[in-house]
Amino acid sequence: MDIQSILQALEDTSLAAYIRESGSFFPNLESVHVIGIALVFGTIAVVDLRLLGIASHRRSALRLIQELLPYTWVAFAACVVTGLLMFTSNATTYAQNSVFWWKMGLLLLAGLNMGFFHLGAYRRIEEWDTTLPPPGQARVAGFCSLALWACVIGLGRWIGFV
C-alpha cells in the first residue's frame, strides 16, 4: 500500500467525512487548535525569555521550567489531536501542501532544539539556575525556540492560503 492510498483511505473514513460535512466540527477543531497554540507558545515563551535572561515570576529557571512545562505538554497534545483530525479530513490535500511540510519540518527542528537543550545546558542547570543572564548555550536554545515556534505559527496560518 503506497502513501497515496493510505491518505485516500484516511480521507474515506466516516470520521473524515463527518469532519468535512458537519459544518461546525472543523471550525471548532481550529478554535481548540488555536487555544492549544496560544498555551504552547505562551508558556514556552516565558521559559525561552528566561533562558535569554529576561526575569520571570520566579528566580529559579529549573522551577520555572518544571512549573510551566506540564501545561505546555497538555496544550501540545491538544494541538496534535486537533491537528491530526483536521489532517484526516483532507489528508490528500494537506499532503500536497508544501507549506504544511515546512511546518512539520520546523516542528521537528523545535523538538531537536529542545532535545539539545535537555542534553546540554539543562543537565548543568544547578550551576546557573538563579544566574542572570544564563550561559550562552541556554540563551541560544531560548532564542532558537522562540524563533522556531513563531515560524511554526506563521506557516500554520499560511497553509490555508496556498
Partner: protein, 160 residues
C-alpha cells in the same frame, strides 16, 4: 451616513484595496495576530492561575500579576492594530458579522474583568497586602480564562 455607505467607503479606500491586492499582507497580519493571542492568553492564564491559587502559590500574587500585566496590555494593542487591518481589508464581510461584534463585546468585557481583579495588586501602595478581599478573585480568575477561550472561538468563527 448609513453603515452600508461606511462599509463601501472603507472598501473603496486605497488602504483597503492594498490589503486585498498584496497577497502576503493578510496571512502575515493573521500570523502576528495569533502570536499576540499566544502572548495575551499565556500571560492571562499564568497570572489567572496564580490568582486562583493553582500556580506559583509560593510567589506573592502582586509580583506575578505585575510581571505579566504589561505583556497583556502590549499584546492587546498589537491585537487591536492587526485586527483593524483585517477589518479594513474586508469591511463588507467583517462589519456585518454578528460573531465579530460578539467577539468585540467579549474582548472589552474580559479585559475589563482581568484589569479589575488585577488593579488592587498593581497599585504601588498595595504591594504588601493581598488581593481585594471584596471580590471573589478565584472564581473571577477562572471566569476570565473561560472568557478568553470563548473570544478565541469567536475569532475563528468569524471566518465562517
Amino acid at each position: 451616513m448609513s453603515s452600508e455607505l461606511i462599509i463601501a467607503w472603507i472598501y473603496a479606500s486605497p488602504l483597503s484595496t492594498a490589503i486585498r491586492d498584496l497577497s502576503w499582507v493578510v496571512p502575515t497580519i493573521q500570523s502576528v495576530h495569533i502570536v499576540a493571542i499566544a502572548v495575551i492568553f499565556g500571560a492571562a492564564v499564568i497570572s489567572d492561575l496564580r490568582l486562583a491559587g493553582v500556580l506559583a502559590a509560593d510567589e506573592p500574587m502582586a509580583g506575578v500579576v505585575r510581571r505579566y500585566f504589561p505583556w497583556m496590555r502590549a499584546a492587546l494593542i498589537v491585537l487591536l492594530l492587526t485586527g483593524l487591518v483585517m477589518v479594513i481589508g474586508e469591511p463588507d464581510r467583517v462589519l456585518v458579522n454578528t460573531t465579530f461584534w460578539l467577539k468585540m463585546f467579549l474582548v472589552v468585557a474580559v479585559f475589563t474583568l482581568a484589569w479589575s481583579i488585577r488593579r488592587p495588586l498593581l497599585r504601588p501602595a498595595a504591594q504588601a497586602q493581598g488581593a481585594d478581599q471584596k471580590l471573589p478573585i478565584k472564581a473571577l480568575a477562572w471566569l476570565s480564562i473561560a472568557l478568553w477561550c470563548v473570544v478565541i472561538f469567536c475569532g475563528r468563527w468569524i471566518a465562517y
